[in-house]
Symmetry: C2
Subunit: 417 residues, 2 copies
């Protein structure tokens, strides 16, 4: 089908013409659509009859520089559909179900998540999600392990690698997570109450070297297919279910980038409650909960990753026969331990960059940005910068997630000093 | 042109039909060809008139499993021609000149190196090449720096990365450099005089973990386009010129893999002279020369790489504006120092694996394999295994090439103990 931009009427015709999709509607004459996207990059339609709903997400050309950027826009949807298909295969139930892909039309048809809410917004309200740690650690372990060289043959990995070379979206992360926030750049925004801290950070040679090291890893370490933008705004959740969505940034990168996105964004939320939740008991209780999420997410992820490795060591990297010697079992365990320790250190480094850039760069998070008073907001922002910087610069000494947590607690304890 | 296997007659017709190539022959009626390849994987023709010569190298299907492996054979020539073109562009005069590529015919037409000899064979004869260090360090610095994210934009690098995904040839290295030599595998060959050492090495847990780490880096660290097989048998040389050839293994991998190939193969030659050169004065003189090559190759490579970086810091990784702050110059210098130190450690790890696999695996080197008496050969082999193992396991402590050299000299000094 030749590309055309859909509207509330033509999207209905479109879905009713796809047999595998239209059969989900029992009352075809009752199907209607409404567009709910922000209109900048994608159209998002909820298409429903009186019983069922689905999402149609269509990429449109960049409005401001339409034409020239067109091929880029189309490719964006290819990565999203490929990654959604992969996540559905590797972590079923933890990503929106994918009903249909049409690359000519630059669209995907997928599950409507009407009973889920965006996790970031709920954490701001101090909502708790009892199954989150279990779900996200499974999502991370399954997607990161099963796209690594530990699980795949060399040929399988390299085929996927070719499909997931994603220059335009990687460039956004390279610029806006790893470079521009730490130097003068016109699109940077920050709270001028913290001007001295921002200036000091941008002139901190040791930190700048450490951030450059993280960027090098992001650009060269093709370890696993990462989601690439796994913050708490990319997670739809409720008491029973968790769905990771918007994986258009997916590419072969360092596995710690995704884990760090989760831990970093939980920590940003932690920082925000020093202002958002003045009641000390309530605050400490929720912050303790957030620390449990951080601890649990890492520990469960690491445990599941290691378990998957022991049970599925069938890839190219180090097959069982390689460890078949007296003492081989211990050597294999030691190798896994070292691999996962490096993954923790990458998690800290990437997570730290992701925290800092949300204070210094173009894109902030509602947890902190929603604090209206700049003086109050600065309290959370200073904490986030300090924790992020220490995660990055001290990462090589980390042995367990307690090292990351100790920094959060220690920096937060000295708040305002 | 539809693929057909050339012979001594049809190859002449072929080259005379390519105007850009045929114009190199002033006496077209005098052009003749002779096939000089080993006939297993490639046909290599020298095509000459009475004055000029050129090489036509054509990939043929794997003889043993022809048919099924055919697409693989064609791709092999694509990587060789791409890499040759790249090397001619980045390091002109240090690779055979490329006259013509025909992917349909799976062939390249390139410079005939009639005045050059294979470096490995000459080192066996204790020949010296006064310009080698200068040439090889330039080749390494130019090709590794200018294909890295330091020099290229993200988009340029990712385009090259897609072109250089080379699964079949990488698999050969993954198996035969990083895996099979260190475990039981039917194709392994080794001198049974050193059975005890081989058994001990294959059960050395610490070493096995370190080798697995090197393999992970080879499979995931897309730092630079490496030649991928840069041993002294891939270098044609004479007093004045050096040409690196046979780059069919080229892919985005760790830069240290190429540098390590050079240093490791020079060290294998060093080990061989304990047997090959019984005259102590002559031996010590040549071994001192080899040490100078090792020292010079690393130091000149590192110096040129750093100099290129300072003069051409125009890529995605860390642009000048990132270091534009008080103390930024020192921070930039510190980052370069750390980057190059990791490159040295990778060089040692990769070089060590390449030494060991030449003693334990399927493919040996003439320097050592040419020693007929197994007891005598074992002297060189034991040294190579010990040096290789220490380079790999101790690499994280290395700060300069002197650390690698100290291990060579120290192990060689304890020879036979």
């Amino acid at each position: 089908m030749i590309y055309k931009i859909l509207d509330n009427k033509s999207v209905v015709d479109y879905v009713l013409n796809i047999p595998s999709v239209s059969k989900m509607f029992s009352h075809k004459e009752a199907v209607t659509a409404r567009e709910v996207g922000d209109g900048n990059l994608n159209l998002v339609f909820i298409v429903s009859d009186d019983k069922n709903s689905m999402i149609v997400k269509q990429a449109i050309p960049y409005l401001r520089i339409a034409g020239e950027s067109w091929p880029l826009a189309r490719d964006r949807m290819r990565f999203e559909s490929q990654a959604l298909a992969l996540h559905n295969k590797l972590a079923p139930g933890l990503a929106p179900a994918l009903y249909h892909t049409d690359l000519e039309m630059s669209l995907v048809v997928m599950e409507y998540l009407g009973k889920h809410v965006i996790m970031r917004k709920e954490l701001i309200k101090r909502k708790r999600f009892p199954l989150f740690v279990g779900h996200i650690s499974t999502f991370l372990a399954e997607t990161l392990f099963k796209t690594s060289d530990i699980y795949l043959t060399g040929a399988e990995k390299k085929k996927l690698q070719a499909e997931f070379i994603n220059p335009e979206l990687c460039k956004i992360t390279e610029d806006f997570v790893f470079t521009n926030p730490y130097k003068e750049s016109p699109e940077n925004k920050w709270n001028h109450v913290i001007d001295p801290e921002v200036k000091a950070l941008r002139s901190n040679g040791k930190l700048k070297v450490a951030i450059a090291e993280m960027k090098e890893g992001f650009m060269t370490h093709g370890q696993s297919i990462v989601h690439g933008d796994l913050h708490t705004g990319s997670i739809m959740i409720n008491e029973k279910e968790t769905r990771v969505f918007d994986p258009e940034f997916a590419f072969y990168g360092p596995a710690g980038f995704d884990v760090g996105a989760i831990l970093g964004n939980l920590t940003l939320n932690y920082c925000s409650h020093f202002v958002r939740t003045p009641d000390v008991t309530e605050r400490e209780s929720f912050q303790a909960y957030l620390i449990e999420l951080i601890r649990g997410t890492w520990n469960e992820f690491a445990r599941k990753f290691d378990e998957l490795w022991q049970k599925n060591n069938k890839g190219e990297l180090c097959p069982p026969s390689y460890w078949d010697f007296p003492g081989g079992e211990q050597a294999f365990a030691e190798y896994r331990r070292k691999y996962i320790k490096l993954l923790l250190q990458d998690t800290a480094g990437c997570g730290g960059c992701k925290m800092m850039r949300r204070i210094l760069g173009i894109a902030h998070v509602e947890d902190i940005e929603g604090i209206v008073d700049p003086q109050q907001r600065a309290i959370a922002e200073r904490l986030a910068l300090q924790i992020g910087a220490r995660w990055v610069t001290e990462r090589a000494s980390f042995n367990s997630v307690e090292d990351l947590i100790n920094i959060i607690v220690s920096v937060a304890g000295k708040k305002g000093k």
